[in-house]
Symmetry: C2
Subunit: 195 residues, 2 copies
Amino acid sequence: MQSPRSNQDRTEKTRAALLSAARGLFIEKGYAETSTPEIVAAAGITRGALYHHFQDKRDLFRAVVAEEASAVAAAIEGRASASMQPVAALIAGSFAYLEAMHAPGRTRLLLIEAPAVLGMAEIQALDEANAARTLREGLEAAFSQAGRDPGLPLAALTDLLSAAFDRAALAIDAGGSAADYGAAISVLIRRLVLN
Amino acid sequence: MQSPRSNQDRTEKTRAALLSAARGLFIEKGYAETSTPEIVAAAGITRGALYHHFQDKRDLFRAVVAEEASAVAAAIEGRASASMQPVAALIAGSFAYLEAMHAPGRTRLLLIEAPAVLGMAEIQALDEANAARTLREGLEAAFSQAGRDPGLPLAALTDLLSAAFDRAALAIDAGGSAADYGAAISVLIRRLVLN
DNA sequence: CTAATTAACATACAGGCTGTATGTATGCAA
DNA sequence: TTGCATACATACAGCCTGTATGTTAATTAG
């Protein structure tokens, strides 16, 4: 806090401007159709700065995706409180997820483009860190309360359910009936867990 | 059948060579990392021929995807015969799908790259023409046999199930346990349909 | 049967984009 | 204040896509 602009400050501002501009363009036009000249123009800097802060275009995209994924996780956080019944918590969490994913362009960015650009492996790791673990624990709790753990492939079921949520988010974003997909999610969870 | 090489013949051979070469490269390296010079070199022709037969690179990709999707549909065809019980038919069809998707590179091509390159709308239309309708009819039959249609959002449920199948195919392809995912699919269907 | 037209390519070109290499100015540390 | 590293900006090389233009062979018209 001595110079008019410390290096740390400059870096933060530049990175933030880059991320914001990139997110807007990636959401609007997709990864492939967005050029780095466009991004830096929108951010008010030059390509030199971009390649100073990020290794390449993909690396910048990765940062945007991570940011967005963590925003989704944050939006869900706390929506399914520990005081709820397991099944109710599962359903509340699912609806929170659908709501959070409804932000403009999020489904396309996170569910369509990210797997193609970054590869499924990276996305899976990111999911695991954010939502998947919570979901699996919720499922586990619900199952164990209903007393029917034995032999069920819990991890696989978690994965399949998570895929169903993703598809629901995508479908709603594409104009599908939120009520229908919400009901379908609800039915799916209840039938799976309760007998 | 008069000339040593009729135009029709030439066209067919060239298109086939192009599609085959493109499929191999798209599967091996993905859409973005595959260049048209590479494709035509592998096919033994020039870029002029490619752009004569297809509007652009995406159009060629679209043709490859359509071919592959129809191969999957063909592989499933007949696996779920009308003589089976509805639920058994559903499960048989699901397993046939998982098997058909296990061909090298198919999950990546059809489930990861195609939505990103062609857009979700086109993929949905393609799915609808191939697998989704069959699935919905199967679900409907199973539900009506179990006597519990009223009020269920059938189309949405079909969509979610289809997403679960896709994820299972992806997960198995990525090294997940085919037994676990198969069991999970089986459980999901049974719990959903039977009470 | 020949002339004209069109289809099926091959070649050449223009523009744009990515990543890197290089230059410069400013903060920071000794 | 002198030297070094950081945060950029500028310049460059190579590749790729799509189009425009040429060429050869097949098909159609007269």
